[in-house]
Subunit: 230 residues, 2 copies
DNA sequence: TAAAACTGTTACAGAACTGTCGCAAAAGCG
DNA sequence: CGCTTTTGCGACAGTTCTGTAACAGTTTTA
């Protein structure tokens, strides 16, 4: 998921005219847009670079929108990507069937562009903060609190519970200096009695873990005051 | 063990007639249903026992649907609960506004019951895929919540009921770390008193079942935090 | 109704993690 | 530069956390 500033939207639509209109409007909203002509191509592109959301035409050559949707929804890696199904078939049966196959939303042609955009925003909003969970990033360090995983330069690191909490504390406020007392408070807990110098030891352990495979030391020692990250 | 099979839906609607119809249909689909007469009551009930999904009428005394929705979406604990907004106002402006306030879906009265049900299912699927009879796949593990079958590398596995629910929980959010308490909540049920360490034992059993015919251990132990899949 | 399958607890062993200490190294200071 | 203070860090004993086997009680199945 490349979610930086501008969400990536995959537009799967075989009709050039429709594609043009949508493409234009999506770009105007600040999205990055990619096209696929048919289902096959769409599946490939999803595998290549998973988009943040997919707008999917129901009727398509090669692999129907319904089938694409079903395939996307089975696999864990792609299941959470919102799919908005676009269809000229306004029959209730079709709408229901569209939703049943796993589409997150179903919009009937001719649709209001404004509403479609609103639905796209609504679906995007859901995915971004929650599924991404709380991911902290500082330089090349990533800390995912949902999966409890820490990587540096895409290398998975092995941290003990205390080191994990310590790093999380630092990453919440990169650059800020924490005194040993503050760290004891936040990482160990308010009413635990632990020797002040113990912090040093854990800082050392965290350092070793972070620099394990070479890479500069991002933990700054502030003499007389405490420690800081970056 | 009854509690967790059926998703809980909170229906917020002040008009008795509407409520009756919806309530009946939801129950017929196998959902557990709770009512709230107005916004205030709804907020209380959510705090009491968070439902899996909320159906929310736009116009209500005391605290409008829009306001309820906004409040729900602000709090981290309730943000992920899907909200389906029900409204007689079919103006595009309203639909857009409804979605903008954070509703996950917007349905216009008079609505088709069948479609509404489909939308409810679609929204639930996102949060609790296994409750809606989906097939989940993670790596080479395949879990069919409809037939209650689990295969690994196309080999049928033999799991007890508890292990099945445990695995389903993990597969709904691959990678996410669940604490033992959370697992007890979701797998055993909110108000069942069971020893925390029991979770370990079942994790062990699930491990043995999954790795039975050789294959790496996909259940990750996160010391001091809990367990995760993959 | 008996056999088989499943559950929750417990106990114990081993693994992982923690907190302290002591001493060496580094940094400040006059 | 010599002295004092502060940090870094290896070693280690103690503690906490996990994996598992065993077992007795229940529920399901045949």
């Amino acid at each position: 998921m490349v979610t930086k500033e501008h969400p990536l939207i995959l537009l799967v639509e075989d009709e050039p005219a429709q594609r043009e209109v949508l493409s234009y409007n999506l770009a105007a909203e600040g999205y990055r847009v990619q096209h696929a002509q048919d289902g096959e191509e769409a599946m490939l592109m999803v595998r290549e670079e998973p988009p943040d959301l997919i707008v999917l035409d129901w009727m398509m050559p090669n692999l129907s929108g319904i089938e694409v949707c079903r395939r996307l929804k089975v696999r864990a890696e792609t299941r959470t990507i919102p799919v908005i199904m676009l269809s000229a078939r306004s029959e209730e049966v079709d709408r229901v069937r569209g939703l049943e196959t796993g589409a997150d939303d179903y919009v009937v042609k001719p649709y209001s562009i404004v509403e479609l955009m609103a639905r796209i925003r609504a679906n995007l909003r859901r995915v971004r903060p929650s599924a991404t969970g709380m991911v902290l990033e500082v330089q090349d360090i990533r800390l995912d609190s949902e999966t409890h995983r820490v990587t540096r330069a895409d290398q998975l690191l092995q941290l003990g519970p205390t080191e994990f909490r310590l790093l999380a504390t630092f990453m919440e406020r990169p650059g800020r200096v924490f005194s040993r007392e503050q760290l004891l408070d936040r990482v160990w807990g308010r009413d635990i009695y632990v020797e002040t110098r113990t912090v040093d030891v854990h800082i050392g352990r965290l350092r070793k873990a972070l620099c394990g495979q070479g890479g500069e030391d991002l933990l700054r020692t502030v003499r007389g005051a405490g420690y800081a990250l970056g």
